[in-house]
């Protein structure tokens, strides 16, 4: 196996490590913790009073537009990273190219700002 794949195998093993930690601790806890079922323990917590309405209540997502803007800037970041590592080689040409790219995306932010979507609605 190449070093490259091996490194990512290590990453995968690190991602699996929490399952071991959680399994060990929950397994140990199972020997120690009580398990006494009472109906009152399983009602949703609403500051100590009886819950109002249905458990699966709905809430308004007020900033979905931020999520759209986030995708825009996150993709920008993905493009900037490889450019940033090679800036010395690209020199002035690369710099001007990226300035144009950043400027266009900044226009998007300014447009959203002027439209008032960055306000809490």
């Amino acid at each position: 196996m190449s070093d490259f794949l091996r490194d990512y195998l290590t990453v995968g093993l690190f991602a699996a490590a929490p399952f071991v930690l959680v399994g060990l601790m929950l397994g140990l806890g199972a020997l120690l913790r009580p398990n006494r079922r009472q109906a009152q323990k399983y009602i949703p917590y609403e500051s100590g009073v009886d819950p109002v309405g249905f458990e699966w209540s709905q809430s308004q997502v007020r900033y979905y537009i931020f999520a759209v803007l986030f995708v825009m800037f996150d993709v920008e970041a993905v493009f900037i990273f490889p450019w940033a590592t090679r800036l010395e080689a690209y020199g002035l040409f690369g710099l001007i190219e990226m300035l144009i790219f950043v400027f266009i995306l900044l226009l998007g932010l300014i447009y959203a700002w002027r439209k008032g979507v960055l306000r809490w609605v």
Binding site: D3, F4, D7, Y8, T10, V11, L13, F14, A15, A17, P18, F19, V20, L21, V22, M25, L28, G29, L32, R33, P34, R36, K41, Y42, I43, P44, Y45, E46, S47, E55, W56, S57, S59, V61, R62, F66, A67, L69, F70, F73, D74, A77, I80, F81, A84, T85, R86, L87, E88, G91, L92, L95, L99, V102, L106, L109, W113, L118, R119, W120
Partner: protein
């Protein structure tokens, strides 16, 4: 010292002096991670949350368990492990049980790329810092899972608030790092450490070039963003106890609550380690050769010291400022931090090309 040669050298253990197979090395590393992440959490909580917070608020902090309360966390751990695990009857049980694990996964995966010495890393990924930022944002998935699956109004509101906050501050975090990447010319964290050690600030190479000096704006942006990513005050709107009673954590009890705790403060330690690697020179110390044999032992200690210094800043801010309102928090990210981060990239790029 190139990346390729270091990866090959990693197969021969410099301290033990004999070769370890890949699976032996990796087993040691995974077991070490299983010990280090909870230990790091314990150190952060004991030093900062118990004692430093108490000192800043003119109290004693925990004093009963052990000398000066040194065993308080043992007592807390014993308490957590004896608590009954509860889930609301309407909860989506599988997602509810998996959410703390997902948060822990995000924390553990960040630790993979942090270099602690000349050969001290779990995996010397070429994408280094890019990978770290990508996996750290997995934590938002765990938070949304917890908030949604609890079938609780506080949890849902807290989870959605957290989602909005984490994506808003992800951007200044990512963009602040680009300044460092431009200066170092590499994404690999080991290369960034080497570049800071051998760097020069406008021709003066006295102490190398720790990027906190040349990238001070980037450092500030990074610190503000990790404060928000960790939902520490003043950015603790999603878990505000006086409004949403702990937000997405409200229904969790016992060990499952502890897992969120480990994920949060383990991530605080991990992010502090990344901040000290990016801006303070990582495990290297000025005037000491990077390949010197002693760095295998001193390196991790140096990194630990720098990490604690950065974590001190995080918790100092945490104890000093009142909470942001939700709309102020979003506007601060979008109207101030992101334009500032873009300006920082442009200025760094121009200076890099001109000089």
């Amino acid at each position: 010292m190139s990346t390729a040669s270091m990866t090959a050298a990693a197969l021969v253990d410099p301290v033990l002096g004999f070769e370890l197979a890949y699976w032996q090395q990796t087993t040691i590393k995974v077991v070490l991670a299983l010990v280090i992440v909870p230990t790091a959490t314990a150190i952060v909580v004991q030093t900062f949350l118990f004692k430093m917070m108490a000192g800043m608020q003119s109290r004693m902090g925990p004093m009963e368990a052990g000398p000066y309360g040194a065993l308080q966390l043992m007592a807390d751990g014993l308490k957590f492990i004896q608590k009954e695990l509860l889930a609301p009857s309407a909860a989506d049980r599988r997602v509810y049980a998996l959410a703390p694990v997902v948060s822990l996964i995000a924390t553990f995966m960040v630790f993979v790329v942090i270099p602690v010495g000349p050969n001290g890393f779990a995996a010397n990924l070429r994408t280094g810092i890019f990978y770290a930022l990508a996996v750290s944002s997995l934590s938002v998935v765990g938070v949304l899972m917890a908030g949604w699956s609890s079938a609780n109004k506080y949890a849902l509101i807290g989870g959605i608030r957290a989602g909005g906050q984490l994506i808003a501050y992800e951007l200044p975090l990512v963009l602040a790092v680009i300044g460092v990447v431009i200066q170092a010319g590499s994404l690999n964290l080991q290369d960034i450490v080497v570049a800071q050690h051998s760097g020069e600030i406008f021709g003066w190479g006295g102490i190398g070039s720790p990027y906190i000096i040349t990238q001070f704006v980037g450092f500030l942006l990074f610190m503000i963003s990790i404060q928000a990513e960790l939902t520490q005050p003043p950015f603790d709107m999603p878990v505000a106890e006086s409004e949403v009673v702990g937000g997405w954590q409200v229904e969790y009890s016992g060990l499952q609550f502890l897992f969120f705790y480990i994920a949060e403060f383990g991530a605080a330690f991990g992010f502090s380690a990344i901040a000290s690697t990016l801006f303070l020179g990582g495990w290297a110390i000025p005037f000491v050769d990077l390949d010197a044999g002693i760095m295998h032992i001193v390196g991790p200690l140096v990194l630990f010291g720098k990490t604690m210094a950065v974590a001190f800043l995080i918790f100092w801010v945490r104890f000093s400022y009142p909470r942001f309102r939700e709309d102020q928090l979003q506007q601060f990210a979008w109207k101030f931090l992101i334009p500032l981060a873009l300006a920082n990239i442009v200025v760094t790029g121009i200076l890099k090309v001109v000089f």
